[in-house]
């Protein structure tokens, strides 16, 4: 074929431009496709985390430890909201594929679980510790997530505290030869200069231990706790802790209604108990956003009254 100079240039240029445009579109399409795939996988992993943690609830055990392993490095972004009745924990996952893109999957809302953790948990393994929160009846099980990269030194903690964790063998919790090691977050019960300082404040007949109620100082904030919430106060991000405690208390308030009605049903069956009015005033106290430490005595009295009644309400 013979081309004049102008005709050849025009057709060739047109073909080059069209070819380049198609190539760019194809590359863009492929990268978008891969990105959508990653986004989908991240969202799926977050949903699977929700499902996987269902059997992790402590149930009737005093505490339970589990671990979740991933094939790749992942980062979980954890947050909490308590604007609705039960609130929720939101988990979104970023799968590290070394592609330089930081796009978390869609956050999965989990409103039937209480997950305490730091804001970001990363690594190939996540350790979870599950315990029950009773106030005075069982309110719910909660989970504490540990990143395999965050180590805690509990050398300076009392024996009763060490014992409840040592048997669980969580690799990121060290109980000896870690004091003053900067790689560890130092948890102390006696030295207020540590990263996390626990101070007990329980000294009445309703206390089994000085640390049944108290405060945990960390990251410039003070977190108040009640017995079952000591571990979350130590290992959780402060805002996630406060939000989840509010959620747990909200659920305790709803359960108080149920138990108050059950107390009435039992009374009608000649199972006399005098808990209904006490439960109603306990609910009022919870709903008035009272400090969790100030609720300790009233919940302890309810516990004793229920034990001593002819029929237990819970």
């Amino acid at each position: 074929m013979n081309y004049s100079r102008g005709e050849f240039n025009f057709v060739l240029l047109f073909a080059i431009f069209a070819g380049v445009a198609i190539l760019i579109l194809a590359i863009y399409g492929a990268s978008q496709f891969a990105s959508t795939g990653r986004f989908q996988t991240s969202t799926l992993v977050a949903k699977q985390l929700d499902i996987l943690t269902d059997p992790f609830q402590a149930g009737f055990a005093s505490a339970q430890k589990n671990e979740i392993s991933f094939n790749q490095n992942i980062t979980i972004k954890s947050s909490c909201e308590n604007f609705t009745e039960f609130g929720s924990n939101d988990l979104s996952v970023l799968i590290d594929m070394d592609l330089g893109q930081e796009k978390y999957g869609t956050p999965i809302k989990i409103n039937d679980k209480y997950i305490f953790s730091s804001e970001y948990i990363s690594g190939r393994k996540i350790y979870s510790l599950s315990k029950s929160f009773s106030f005075p009846f069982k309110v719910s099980d909660y989970l504490i997530f540990f990143s395999e990269e965050d180590y805690f030194c509990l050398e300076d903690s009392p024996d009763w505290f060490k014992q409840q964790l040592q048997n669980l063998e969580i690799p990121v919790l060290k109980f000896k030869e870690c004091k003053n090691n900067e790689e560890y977050t130092q948890v102390c019960f006696s030295d207020s200069a540590c990263d996390i300082y626990v101070s007990g404040g329980c000294n009445g007949p309703d206390c089994e231990n000085e640390y049944d109620i108290g405060a945990v100082s960390k990251e410039g904030t003070i977190l108040y706790y009640q017995k079952d919430l000591l571990l979350p106060a130590i290992f959780s991000n402060p805002s996630i802790y406060n939000c989840n405690v509010n959620r747990l208390l909200q659920k305790a308030s709803f359960l108080t209604d149920i138990y108050s009605e059950k107390a009435l049903i039992l009374n009608q069956k000649d199972c006399i108990n005098y808990l209904q009015s006490d439960l109603d005033s306990f609910k009022q106290q919870i709903d008035s956003n009272a400090d969790i430490r100030s609720l300790h005595s009233i919940q302890y009295n309810l516990l004793i009254k229920n034990r001593e009644g002819s029929c237990r309400v819970w």
Partner: protein, 164 residues
């Protein structure tokens, strides 16, 4: 010469349009495939969750009886939870579409609902039901207990049926 060039441009344009349509079709095919995969994954994830949920709902404080035995449901609590105020309160809490209890009792030949009826003469209690038609149900056997008198608990075998 000009006509020949125009013809060539048209030929090229048609070719580009054909290639574009081809890629578009391939794109739509992959998109549909991807959507189908997402739907299947979501369905599988929901099923897995529901199977795990049966025991966690039965053992939750809202359902569980005072004893320490697993899969024991308190019938007194069920009656309380069946009330309208709890129905709407817990609507968004349980990640399921329905929660039902069916008492295993050979004296009943058909389902007799306990709602608004004599609670001693029924074998089915609906705790929660969403307005959905395509609900897939899973069940597990439980012990359904209620306090009869001081120191006497009346227990029956029942099925806890969860729908998604």
């Amino acid at each position: 010469m000009v006509k020949k060039a125009q013809y060539k441009i048209m030929q090229m344009a048609f070719m580009i349009v054909a290639v574009f349509i081809f890629f578009l079709m391939v794109g739509i095919f992959f998109f549909n495939f991807q959507i189908q995969n997402v739907k299947e994954s979501a369905q599988i994830a929901n099923e897995q969750k529901t199977i795990g949920l049966i025991s966690s709902i039965a053992n939750s404080p809202e359902f569980h009886c005072s004893s320490s035995s697993s899969l024991c449901v308190d019938f007194d609590k069920i009656k309380i939870l069946g009330q309208e105020k709890y129905y709407s309160l817990y609507e968004n809490f349980w990640p399921v579409s329905s929660i039902e209890i069916r008492i295993i009792d050979s004296t009943f030949n058909e389902i007799v609902s306990c709602k608004n009826k004599n609670l001693d003469n029924c074998n089915y209690y609906e705790v929660y039901q969403e307005n959905k038609t395509d609900i897939i149900k899973y069940s597990s056997y439980i012990t359904l207990c209620e306090k009869e008198k001081i120191n006497i608990d009346k227990c029956k075998l029942a099925q806890l049926i969860i729908g998604i």
